[in-house]
């Protein structure tokens, strides 16, 4: 009986730990549906995904780091759209109104922006920072998670993590760097933790 209780406790502890860490590289990202900023209509990951996959990118309308990346994000999104990889922006910041997000998205991004009210998707995937990218293949398997490149300023980029992950996958190779972090803004979550 004691053994069963212990195993049950251990199982729940592991389940909690797993959920706190979000999705791991190699795991399958479940389909999700969220409203599109500025339109209000719902759309899903599977509807937006390209034939070679998609990038789910957590963004913000106010984060200075995101602002510094706008041109680079749009450039990489444009370059790989033709190669079957689409971009889906996600805004999970409780401090940014739907109107603000819609106007920022219309002004700055050339791909759809979805509103993650209550940061449920961010919590599910373990997203905490903006910008933060999750690159999945056509079967929704996570291939790369993290930063866009290794230089916020854009002046001394020596490693384009996301582009490299795309190029390796499109060439039929394994992604060598599957997880890279960079400093950015905290996602301002609705729930105080």
């Amino acid at each position: 009986m004691k053994k069963a209780a212990f195993l049950l406790t251990a199982f729940f502890a592991l389940a909690i730990a797993g959920s706190a860490q979000g999705i791991a590289v190699g795991a399958t990202m479940e389909n999700f549906s969220l409203p599109m900023a500025g339109k209000g209509t719902m759309t899903s990951l599977n509807e937006q995904k390209g034939k070679n996959g998609a990038v789910v990118m957590f963004l913000s309308a106010q984060c200075p780091v995101v602002k510094g990346y706008i041109e680079r994000i749009n450039a990489v999104a444009d370059d790989y759209k033709a190669k079957g990889i689409t971009f889906i922006g996600i805004n999970s910041n409780a401090t940014e109104s739907a109107e603000w997000v819609a106007s920022d998205a219309a002004q700055n991004f050339r791909f759809p922006m979805l509103i993650d009210k209550g940061n449920k998707l961010a919590d599910k995937l373990g997203a905490t920072v903006t910008p933060e990218a999750y690159y999945i293949n056509a079967k929704n398997a996570l291939l790369y998670h993290g930063a866009i490149d290794n230089d916020r300023s854009g002046e001394n980029i020596t490693d384009t993590y996301l582009r490299t992950a795309f190029d390796q996958t499109l060439a039929g190779q394994k992604v060598t760097n599957t997880r890279k972090n960079a400093f950015g803004c905290s996602i301002k979550k609705a729930t105080v933790q």
Binding site: Q21, P64, V65, A127, T128, V129, E132, G146, A147, N150, D151, R152, S153, N156, T158, R179, K180, N181, A182, F183, G184, C185, S186, I187, K188, Q193
Partner: protein, 190 residues
Amino acid sequence: MFISSSFYRKTALCAVFAFVMMPTVFAQKAKPAASAALKVAGPQVTQIDIEGLKKLLKPNGKPLLINFWATWCDPCREEFPDLVKLNGEYKGRVDFITVSLDDLDDIATLVPKFLREVKAEMPAYLLKTPDESAAITLVAKDWSGNLPLTVLYNAAGEPAYTRPGKFQYETLKDEVEKVVMQPSKATAKR
């Protein structure tokens, strides 16, 4: 009055020379004046790389509180006065260190300006590394790089409390108090 043609030529040459050189002279004069105006008096901010960060994290027999922040980060600026307050309360018992992730260009301007405004006296550093990912993992394996981050180490160098995002003053004070009350361990693990 007779003025020779060579005088005209010399005058014209001088005028052309002065016209060509004017921007250079002005630029040379303007540059130091502009940078002097931008530089602010304030706490010394020391540039470090990942090796410097490793040295900072080495235990020295005293608890350490390290805060990662940037002037562009709203919650970082908001929590900073509480950090200054805690530093004042635990001075001598806990080492407080701040590490800025601002651009290197801001090391003598925006960063010390803000530190002066909030009356920060703790040692201040600015981290510049081509591999931020390695620095982030060095500090905390589960950290994605979101600012601010506060990590409290006990005297043995073990992380006692890690807070990504804005900290709550009372919670952090309780954690610092716990670490201060802990008997120091002989083995250092940081």
